[in-house]
């Protein structure tokens, strides 16, 4: 019962919780929120929709979805939901921009533009569910190799999810992903919106500006500055829909010197002004 109330945790590293939404509403998930750790949800019962960065996905038993640091998410429940929630920090996997490591390879956790939902086949779901039980068992034993053991079970679960994801999402297949692309993504997560110039990231990653650009064009299909602009657009949308900040405040937060330039930037990319976007989307989400 104590697992149920508080979960199993090692502060700063991981936190495991049983998920029982609709009975006592412990996980306050109707309100949009974001945090600075990764979270994965494994659904074993019930139905609903998860809203993540302005897109919505249905969930039902056999769905695993990932939320990366900074993503705004919330959900609605149609039938009482059961499952498991695993949160873990970047530190737990020693992730940084020099070495994205294991997490950098997971498209459903680390590619902000792609879908973050993995739909596990009914025949494979019990196997994955078994691994989650083993993860819980592994986390309960408090000995000197506890973090290594918990990490190992998480690696197995997430790698299997990665394989399922790659089979189902050919366009997002990570075979062409390069280490530099992964490092750039992590560096952007860490330094956005403080650093917004390609040259800032090139020097941070210790490569030349043109090498970074060529590599992104070849492997991601977009220039480095386009990737940064996408990120600005995404953050602007998040703030417009989920915060009470004014358009000017958002512009300053995203390092625009002049709010009117922000409005032009936003309109050029989305065909809508920030105000229109907020009016239209706030309705859908509310």
């Amino acid at each position: 019962m104590s697992d149920y109330a508080r979960g199993i945790r090692m502060p700063g590293l991981f936190h495991l919780l049983l998920f029982d939404e609709g009975k006592n509403g412990r996980h306050d998930c109707h309100l949009a929120h974001r945090h600075d750790f990764f979270e994965i949800f494994w659904i074993t019962r019930g139905r609903g929709r998860v809203h993540c960065d302005l897109r919505s996905y249905d969930f039902h038993p056999g769905i695993l979805f990932g939320v990366s640091p900074g993503q705004v998410h919330s959900w609605t429940v149609d039938e009482p939901v059961e499952g498991r929630i695993v949160s873990f920090s970047r530190k737990f996997f020693a992730m940084d921009s020099a070495h994205p490591g294991f997490l950098g390879k997971l498209p459903f956790l680390c590619a902000p533009s792609g879908p973050m939902v993995v739909e596990v086949e009914p025949v494979e779901a019990p196997f994955l569910d078994g691994l989650f039980s083993l993860l819980w068992e592994a986390a309960r034993v408090e000995d000197s190799v506890r973090p290594e053991r918990v990490r190992a079970y998480l690696v197995i679960i997430l790698s299997l999810a990665r394989q399922v994801f790659n089979r189902q999402n050919r366009p997002y297949q990570d075979a062409h992903d390069t280490k530099l692309a992964q490092r750039f993504r992590v560096a952007l997560d860490e330094n956005f919106p403080r650093l917004l110039r390609v040259s800032d990231y090139a020097s941070l990653l210790a490569v030349s500006r043109s090498h970074l650009n060529d590599n992104m064009i070849r492997h991601v299909g977009r220039t480095a500055s386009e990737i940064i602009h996408e990120r600005i657009e995404l953050e602007a949308k998040r703030l417009l829909v989920h915060s009470m900040l004014t358009v000017s405040e958002i512009a300053y937060q995203l390092q625009f010197r002049d709010p009117s330039y922000f409005v032009r930037f936003f309109k050029r990319r989305t065909q809508l002004t920030p105000g229109d976007y907020r009016a239209r989307f706030a309705l859908v989400v509310a």
């Binding site: 020099a98 190799v145 290594e148 053991r149 990490r151 990570d174 075979a175 280490k179 210790a206």
Partner: protein, 301 residues
């Protein structure tokens, strides 16, 4: 002379039929048809990689170095690179065998070389055998069946899955060795010279680089030290120190954005070009070639 048993490298050893293997990385094979435990195979064997035997059922003896262990159903046996061993089964032995290179486990994952070096059951011949209770044996049955089920694929992510299973096997062994179970289960308080030497390398390399310096720290004579290390793992202390240095260079090439020269200086080479030659002589490729190949492999694998 006993030390002249040739050291078989990974690829040669894989001439036998392992259903699941990746060159220079790992292999998993059933013990039933594994020539390592053939009946009457009296010739000691010695390989350049780590090995774990899980004897699910069967009984017999296994000899490593000067020790002879008697085992019955439910046992784990650990071998580190260069150790000599041979099996002398009484009954047909069933179970699993897994072999892996130090580089595979200690470079690509979140556990490092110092973690592997701290697992003394790999290095101390006296405590290389762990006899399991029946519930513990069931736990390893479950672990190996998950291992097989998830490793039987060529998809991206296989390396991570295998490393995770190796970590789980080692964690479980460490937990059982350290547990307060039956008599003789605990790790001996005073570990062997080789284990202490490996721990000292972790603490003092690359600053200390000669066998003499380590012999002094261990409080034994240099000659005695070299003979003992060579007897146990077939390599001289100097070679072990060099291997550790190359491993560290590989780790930094893969995990950091440091230049080759920066890595050379960090590992206390006075001249980067000497470091490049040193690295190439031992691995066959230059540091930059290694970095390029591994980055591609890691992003995909």
């Amino acid at each position: 002379m006993r030390t002249s048993i040739p050291l078989t490298e990974f690829e040669t050893a894989l001439a036998w039929n392992c259903q699941i293997h990746r060159p220079q990385k790992f292999a998993l094979s059933k013990l039933d048809d594994n020539p390592l435990v053939e009946f009457g195979s009296r010739a000691p064997k010695r390989f350049g990689f780590f090995e774990v035997f899980w004897v699910e059922s069967g009984s017999g003896k296994v000899r490593n170095g000067a020790c002879s262990h008697t085992l019955r159903s439910g046992a784990l046996f650990f071998v580190s690179p260069g150790q000599r061993y041979f099996w002398d089964p009484d009954e047909f032995i069933r179970g699993e065998w897994v072999g892996f290179t130090e580089e595979f486990l200690a470079i690509g994952s979140t556990v490092g070389p110092e973690w592997l070096s701290s697992m003394s059951f790999f290095y101390d011949e006296e405590c290389a055998l762990l006899q399991l209770e029946s519930d513990e044996n069931s736990e390893f049955r479950r672990l190996f069946s998950t291992f097989r089920a998830t490793a039987y694929t060529n998809e991206a992510g296989l390396d991570d899955i295998v490393r995770a299973h190796l970590t789980l096997i080692i964690c479980k062994a460490k937990q059982l060795f350290g547990g307060k179970g039956e008599e003789g289960r605990r790790m001996p308080p005073e570990s062997s010279l080789l284990t202490r030497f490996r721990q000292l390398i972790e603490e003092h390399f690359p600053r200390l680089r000669t066998a003499g310096e380590y012999a002094e720290l261990l409080g034994v004579s240099r000659t005695q030290f070299c003979a003992e290390v060579r007897r146990r793992c077939g390599l001289s202390p100097g070679q072990l120190i060099q291997l550790r240095k190359v491993l560290e260079a590989k780790r930094r090439l893969l995990h950091t954005a440091h230049t080759v020269s920066e890595i050379a200086y960090a590992l206390e080479f006075e001249d980067p070009s000497y470091f490049v030659r040193y690295f190439k002589r031992r691995t066959g490729i230059t540091p930059s070639q290694y970095r390029a190949a591994m980055l591609q492999d890691e992003a995909v694998g």
